[in-house]
């Protein structure tokens, strides 16, 4: 797996390490927090709490086990669960003791990863995948619209999937 973590030190216990980590990863963490919480205010709270927890546990971060990015996402995931619980704990709602399911959050993380990867691949590649896969349009129709041979649309779908694979690996995704 390709690691995108910027810190080579074994700890995140210094404030300047946290500042570097924030500069490198806050955008992605915020994007996922907005995606899963559906609220920019809560997302800001989640990102702030993630970096505070990371700083508190900084000595436990080991770059040999995984990238800083992966570690921060694992913390954010827990923060989002906690925020979701806090939100659901309201009089008359929490009395049944039903814990919010974790499953939708993992799905949200997968969804966010694909969406983020789609943003990072080339426009031509994204376009053919959107048209043929998500909109279900025939290849011939897409080819005519783009003014290219049908074979070119097919090869762009192929190179687009390959690009997605590379970006997902860079983001820390493993099969």
């Amino acid at each position: 797996m390709i690691q995108l973590g910027t810190s080579t030190r074994g700890a995140l216990s210094r404030e300047r390490d946290v500042r570097e980590a924030y500069a490198a990863h806050s955008g992605e963490l915020y994007g996922f927090a907005v995606r899963s919480l559906g609220d920019s205010g809560l997302a800001e709270e989640a990102v702030q709490e993630t970096f505070v927890r990371a700083w508190r546990a900084g000595e436990r971060f080991d770059p040999k086990i995984g990238s800083l990015r992966t570690w921060l996402f694992a913390i954010l995931r827990n923060v989002v669960i906690d925020l979701g619980r806090a939100r659901s704990v309201r009089p008359g709602v929490a009395e049944g003791g039903i814990e919010p399911s974790v499953e939708p959050l993992d799905e949200a993380l997968t969804a966010w990863q694909v969406e983020e990867a789609m943003r990072r691949i080339g426009d031509d590649h994204r376009r053919v995948i959107v048209e043929t896969y998500y909109r279900g349009r025939p290849y011939a129709e897409v080819a005519e619209e783009l003014g290219v041979p049908e074979g070119t649309v097919k090869s762009r779908v192929y190179y687009g999937l390959r690009a997605l694979r590379v970006v997902l690996e860079e983001m820390g995704y493993e099969d």
């Binding site: 404030e15 907005v34 969804a111 896969y133 998500y134 090869s155 694979r165």
Partner: protein, 237 residues
């Protein structure tokens, strides 16, 4: 159908195939090629997990991602700085309590705090964390000592003395001889360690001394005894 002899031409169909978009002769031809081409089979296997992830995504969200507001970074930094300040206050109170708690408590404190890594005179010696205990209210001093062939590397953390204070550091050996480790200035708002070095081997070091001009602080190194000392100079004020 068109004859495709070039492996690359078949390979470029693998994306549409992985998405289930290939039909008829083209699909049959590719499958026949896959039967005989391990390279294309491996390529297909690397694309299939990606194809399986696509249904999770929402194409309406492929546009620019929302960005955190610029002040969020400042809020994170301020929250962490405030928490660090609170932690230091707690730590100072804790050490103050030990200093007042009598010899037994001080001995326990020394064992707990000074010998984090075992200490003692060993050939392959680990680094040591030394804490200056029983400090006046508001002052915190820590040091980490690392053994080297040239002597000892010292990371000093000082907090709470006036900003701009010149701090002189040295190590003392078994016979009381002093080995200078250098000087540094403490600045308010700077949470970094000063990195110094001394020629005295860590295994032979008995004390580390920090002189801030008005006061001299001493902490034992490699000592199983709780020899926590503060020597206050006679101050005019």
């Amino acid at each position: 159908m068109k004859t495709r002899n070039d492996c690359r031409e078949w390979r470029e169909l693998l994306g549409a195939y992985a998405l289930g978009h290939l039909e008829g002769d083209e699909r049959a031809g590719l499958e026949a090629h896959l039967d005989g081409c391990a390279q294309c089979r491996a390529e297909l296997a690397s694309l299939e997990p990606v194809a399986l992830m696509l249904p999770h995504a929402d194409p309406a969200r492929f546009g620019p991602a929302p960005q955190p507001p610029p002040e969020l970074g400042q809020r994170v930094a301020a929250t962490i700085a405030a928490e660090r300040e609170r932690g230091e206050k707690r730590r100072r109170r804790r050490f103050g309590g030990f200093a007042l708690g009598g010899a037994a408590a001080a001995a326990v404190a020394a064992v707990l705090l000074l010998f984090v890594f075992g200490g003692g005179e060993q050939s392959a010696q680990p680094e040591q964390q030394v804490r200056f205990a029983g400090l006046p209210a508001g002052i915190a001093i820590d040091a980490t000592l690392k053994p080297h062939a040239y002597g000892t590397e010292i990371h000093m953390y000082v907090h709470g003395v006036p900003s701009g204070t010149l701090c002189r550091v040295w190590l003392r050996g078994p016979n009381g001889a002093s080995y200078p480790a250098g000087t540094f200035r403490y600045r308010w708002g700077d949470d970094s360690d000063a990195v110094l070095s001394s020629a005295l081997d860590l295994s032979r070091t008995r004390e580390i001394v920090v002189d801030t001009g008005k006061r001299t602080f001493v902490a034992p190194v490699n000592s199983p005894v709780a020899a926590l000392q503060i020597r206050h100079k006679e101050e005019a004020t």
